[in-house]
């Protein structure tokens, strides 16, 4: 599934042993994917390979993180892997939806690649339909996290320090009391499947998600990536001297491919 680019002299390909794999779920508002775009663009990550898969709708374009004429002509496809060895970070970006009935095989192949490449843990950025929140979830922060049991042991304490809120389980049959509570992530795409499979296969996985709706999801992406940054500290959050609050939003670099997200400019002939 994983094809390294530029095999060069190192035929074994890049080594991800002990790395953190950061990846998005294709979910409501594409918030996870937008957040990943911000991470790759800001940290100027290098592409190290791609996934050759029949599970995602094909697409191709030129380099979405281009900053100048020289680096704008590298082809980019629907599932690519970027790495930053100095932070032991490997990032997977997914750029198109799943083909019908193919999301399960993709999850299986992905998790077996995670195990074979010996990544230490997986962090999945996702989102869930805001309109499906219950009364309690409507109040307070729209951000949630989930940890598999193996990762809970390692970092559960840190989440408590950060005062993060764990994703609540809901009743399997709403309205009927005394039913089992289950995990329900509407609009989260493969989030629930990946999480439950990771729990049963002993993979250390964290899910970070935001409740949102479809629309202009750029602010949601910033909120999610700042949430991630509270934990992983990928970029320094500068403390503003005038107020005591930290606002790292301005330090994330928006990629050039985010231009014209909602279509072209207006034709002058309209007026």
């Amino acid at each position: 599934m994983f094809i390294p680019c530029d095999r060069g002299g190192d035929s074994a390909g890049p080594d991800f042993k002990g790395f953190t794999l950061l990846m998005p779920a294709v979910s409501v508002g594409n918030v996870g994917q937008l957040a990943i775009d911000l991470v790759i663009s800001t940290l100027d990550m290098t592409k190290v390979g791609y996934f050759y898969t029949d599970c995602l709708v094909p697409m191709v374009g030129n380099n979405p993180y281009a900053t100048a004429e020289e680096n704008s002509t590298e082809l980019s496809i629907n599932a690519e892997v970027y790495s930053l060895p100095s932070k032991k970070l490997v990032v997977l970006q997914i750029r198109s939806p799943f083909i019908k009935n193919k999301y399960r095989p993709f999850c299986e192949t992905l998790l077996s690649w995670v195990k074979s490449s010996k990544c230490a843990r997986v962090v999945l950025l996702s989102s869930s339909h805001a309109y499906q929140r219950d009364d309690e979830q409507l109040l307070g922060t729209p951000l949630r996290y989930l940890l598999t049991p193996d990762l809970e042991k390692a970092v559960g304490g840190r989440m408590k320090e950060l005062n993060w809120k764990e994703m609540e389980k809901v009743a399997a049959y709403p309205g009927i009391s005394d039913t089992d509570k289950v995990l329900h992530i509407p609009g989260g795409g493969i989030t629930k499947l990946l999480f439950t499979e990771s729990c049963s296969e002993g993979i250390q996985m964290a899910v970070l998600l935001k409740f949102c709706s479809e629309g202009d999801n750029i602010p949601d992406a910033f909120v999610l990536v700042n949430y991630l940054n509270e934990w992983l500290q990928l970029i320094k959050s500068e403390v503003s001297t005038s107020s005591n609050s930290t606002d790292p939003s301005s330090q994330w670099k928006i990629p050039s491919s985010w231009r014209l997200l909602f279509g072209n400019g207006l034709p002058p002939a309209l007026f």
Partner: protein, 211 residues
């Protein structure tokens, strides 16, 4: 999601999610139906030499030109193909909700078809006219079966396709674009001169040309 009129509807998601699919476990009947549909949607690539019972040896190919969509196929018919210099060597048989192609090589321009031609003077030059729509779950199969029959060393592939102008994202008005409006994408291995400008962000290519 509540609309302006107060009705509650399920909001469609850009992410292309299908909640029903996730929640339901597949019964044996479902599995059987799914397998039957998958079989019906399988693609068959038939080469003329296979009809004579020859073994499937990889086709030696130096240049492969693929025209995807009716416009690109018509371009090849009008300017490149003729019965003197080119011979039909293969056909793709497929079915999906949008079209069906057959194994006949005698087609009308208005039919949906996918034919392969070979240059008689240089049999390593191959051309494909694909005017039918290849559905997203068939694109990977098309690729593997067509390219699987070819020896790929030293192969140069050129893909011709069209997209609606309305899909082109630009700061200026699309009314002022020069005609013909050509853009290209190329791999870094392609060293020759490209005859037009490269496709700039945030534009992308989808479907079979992308695959």
């Amino acid at each position: 999601m509540a609309t302006f009129f107060g009705e509650v509807v399920v909001a469609p998601s850009r992410a292309g999610l299908d909640e029903e699919e996730e929640a339901r476990e597949e019964t044996p009947e479902d599995r059987e139906i799914r397998r039957e549909i998958e079989k019906k949607r399988e693609i068959d690539v038939l080469w003329t030499w296979q009809a004579g019972g020859c073994a499937g040896e990889p086709l030696v190919c130096s240049r492969f030109i693929v025209a995807i969509g009716r416009n690109a196929a018509a371009f090849l018919s009008s300017f490149i193909l003729d019965s003197v210099c080119w011979e039909v060597v293969g056909v793709v048989k497929l079915w999906n909700e949008w079209c069906r192609t057959s194994s006949t090589t005698n087609v009308l321009p208005t039919d949906s078809f996918c034919l392969f031609y070979r240059l008689i003077s240089d049999p390593t030059v191959l051309l494909c006219q694909c005017s039918c729509y290849v559905a997203e779950d068939q694109q990977f199969q098309w690729l593997e079966k067509v390219f699987g029959s070819m020896q790929k060393k030293g192969l140069q592939v050129t893909i011709l396709s069209t997209c609606p102008v309305a899909d082109y994202k630009t700061q200026e008005s699309t009314l002022t674009l020069v005609s013909p409006f050509l853009k290209a994408l190329k791999t870094k291995e392609f060293q020759e001169q490209v005859c037009c400008l490269l496709l700039e962000q945030p534009n992308i290519v989808r479907d079979l040309p992308a695959a």
